[in-house]
């Protein structure tokens, strides 16, 4: 019981991080039809920027903002100067994001060396709180709370604002949205920057739990892919549910069958692919 409870809470924390990573990935894919293979690299670079910010004496809150802002700017450049030049060329866009992922990965290795480095937990959130009879790290609970807040904010932004309505229109039917006079290019920049910022902030927030190390990018990218395939492209609720599901699956897999944890992670995806012959969500139409 105790084991189950601790692992569940750990699963929640990982799920929260995954949501920060994959919500942007999913929205970008859903709206722009771009599989941003640099998303894992954005996450990792965000963590490194956060680490440098902390070392420069900023507190944790500002480090998270710095990570998010830096990656948002990088994402903006990527979208505006590279992806837009390749509009409509799916393959070229995938390849260029892969190239960017390699550049970021290797450049980070050059700058921050190859040692895994945990980010320090902020003072206010260190220690543990009693949860249902066990002590649980405050920081992980905070991550869960933050992810839920982000979900609610994103949900409200998509459902209740004008820009959100435009994004939903673009996800549902791009041509019709264009026809109605929605400024699609501006929408692309907004969504790509926001998605990148979320990944960057997620990286900083994940730092104390996952540490930051070379290869974190390629560890995270497949997780975002699975969440996307399970949750559906551009589907915020799907990304939320998928993230927590994968968070649990991975945490319990690690604890119970460490050799196979990584493989177990992909089984729901394979099952979904095998059982839904009509294709998954809108992947086929892509």
């Amino acid at each position: 019981m105790r084991f189950f409870l601790i692992q569940s809470l750990n699963g929640l924390a990982l799920g929260g991080l995954l949501f920060l990573l994959s919500s942007g990935f999913s929205l970008i894919f859903g709206l722009m039809r771009v599989a941003n293979l640099a998303h894992g690299a954005f996450f990792m670079l965000g963590a490194y920027v956060g680490l440098s910010a902390l070392r420069a004496g900023l507190n944790f809150f500002w480090a998270v903002l710095a990570g998010g802002l830096a990656i948002a700017i990088l994402g903006g450049f990527t979208e505006r100067f590279l992806l837009r030049r390749l509009a409509g060329k799916t393959l070229a866009q995938v390849l260029i994001t892969l190239g960017i992922a390699f550049i970021i990965g290797d450049a980070s290795l050059l700058v921050w060396s190859g040692d895994p480095m945990p980010l320090p937990i902020p003072q206010a959130l260190s220690g543990a709180v009693p949860v249902a009879g066990i002590f649980f790290p405050k920081y992980r609970l905070a991550v869960v709370v933050i992810s839920v807040v982000v979900f609610v904010v994103l949900w409200l932004a998509l459902e209740r604002t004008r820009i959100g309505a435009m994004i939903r229109a673009g996800v549902d039917d791009m041509e019709m949205a264009r026809g109605l006079g929605i400024a699609v290019p501006r929408l692309f920049t907004i969504v790509f920057c926001a998605g990148a910022a979320l990944a960057g902030m997620g990286g900083v927030l994940g730092g104390p739990i996952l540490s930051v190390y070379p290869g974190l990018d390629m560890d995270m990218l497949p997780l975002a892919l699975i969440v996307l395939i399970l949750g559906g492209a551009g589907n915020l609720l799907g990304a939320f549910a998928g993230s927590y599901f994968i968070g649990f699956l991975y945490t319990f897999g690690q604890a119970l069958l460490p050799d196979l944890a990584y493989v177990i992670l992909f089984l729901p995806m394979v099952a979904a692919l095998a059982l839904r012959p009509q294709g998954l969500f809108r992947l086929r139409a892509a």
């Binding site: 390749l86 995938v94 190239g99 390699f102 990965g105 290797d106 050799d259 493989v263 992909f266 095998a274």
Partner: protein, 314 residues
């Protein structure tokens, strides 16, 4: 006639590296041929089928691992281990093909990537089976008909035989009726469907054939290195082979081979001076996508045609 002369010249050229003075160069030539078989197999999917796979290292790696496992852990002879590796990997390609071809376009890219990632996970984490990060070694090189392949030259000629067979196979395959149909499904899947062509089966067969040749490349890869580690299954490796195909020219016969030569040479030359190979790989990717999306072989062909035309005009 002219074409036959070109092919004869190329064939002669391919024998030359075997007699290069230093083993180092002969070995690089072997690497290029193995990469050429591998890239040629991916080209069937990417170039002729229009299906971008980002998980092709999965077949090369799986085949190399099965060979290593069968010969070191299960006591198979090298020949049977190699045959087993190719057979099992081809079967795996059939299963992966069914799953991946649920989607086309971007969906296909992502599913192939995810499936290859599973294999990487098995190789890296399932230590008792695969040796984990340490990989598997100790299976040596084969001795076909008692011929010793430990020298660089002998091994190069051994690889050359497979390279020639695979090149001939691919040439015949893409020029056959089936190959023409495949290119039809790439350009106009709906029209092909309307004409009564079974689009899905065409893609599936191509997927399996492509997996088969990648498996052959995997056996040669294992023989060459006499060692396999999870690195062979990494996304970088899938990206590298895709870069070979695209840089050389997808959908051309010579493109992937030129691409393989360029990438292998770059990699060897660059790693001799700096350790930033991945950074360079990324930059090359970005540059190719932006400035030479059709690849080297068609790009040079276009330039040549242009010079010829301006030449006659002048």
């Amino acid at each position: 006639m002219k074409r036959a002369a070109v092919y004869a010249a190329v064939a002669a050229l391919l024998v030359v590296p075997a007699f290069l003075p230093f083993d180092y160069y002969v070995n690089i030539a072997s690497q290029i041929l193995i990469a050429g078989i591998f890239a040629g197999s991916l080209n069937l999917l990417v170039g002729y089928g229009g299906l971008i796979s980002l998980g092709h290292a999965g077949y090369l790696g799986a085949s190399a691992y099965v060979l290593a496992w069968l010969s070191t852990r299960a006591g198979f002879s090298h020949l049977w281990a190699s045959l087993g590796a190719v057979t099992l990997t081809t079967l795996m390609a059939a299963v992966f093909g069914v799953l991946s071809l649920r989607a086309t376009g971007l969906g296909f890219v992502m599913i192939t990537l995810a499936l290859a990632q599973i294999l990487w996970g098995v190789a890296y984490r399932w230590v008792s089976l695969t040796g984990g990060d340490n990989g598997l070694s100790g299976f040596g090189r084969p001795q076909p008909f008692g011929i010793d392949l430990s020298s660089a030259t002998a091994f190069y000629l051994f690889v050359l035989v497979f390279f020639a067979i695979s090149f001939l196979f691919v040439s015949v395959f893409v020029r056959s009726t089936f190959g023409a149909g495949l290119q039809g499904t790439r350009d106009q899947p709906r029209r092909m469907q309307a004409l009564g062509w079974d689009v899905w089966s065409t893609r599936f067969v191509t997927f399996v054939v492509s997996g088969f040749w990648a498996a052959v490349a995997g056996v040669l890869y294992a023989d060459y290195n006499q060692f396999v580690s999870p690195h062979v299954l990494a996304l970088t490796n899938s990206a590298e082979v895709l870069l070979m195909v695209i840089a050389g020219g997808a959908g051309t016969l010579l493109g992937p081979i030129v691409g393989a030569a360029v990438v292998v040479l770059l990699k060897n030359v660059v790693s001799a001076y700096v350790t930033r190979w991945v950074l360079l790989l990324g930059l090359v990717f970005v540059a190719i996508v932006l400035y030479m999306p059709e690849g080297l072989v068609p790009g040079i062909e276009r330039l040549r045609r242009r010079t010829v035309r301006t030449g006659t005009r002048a």
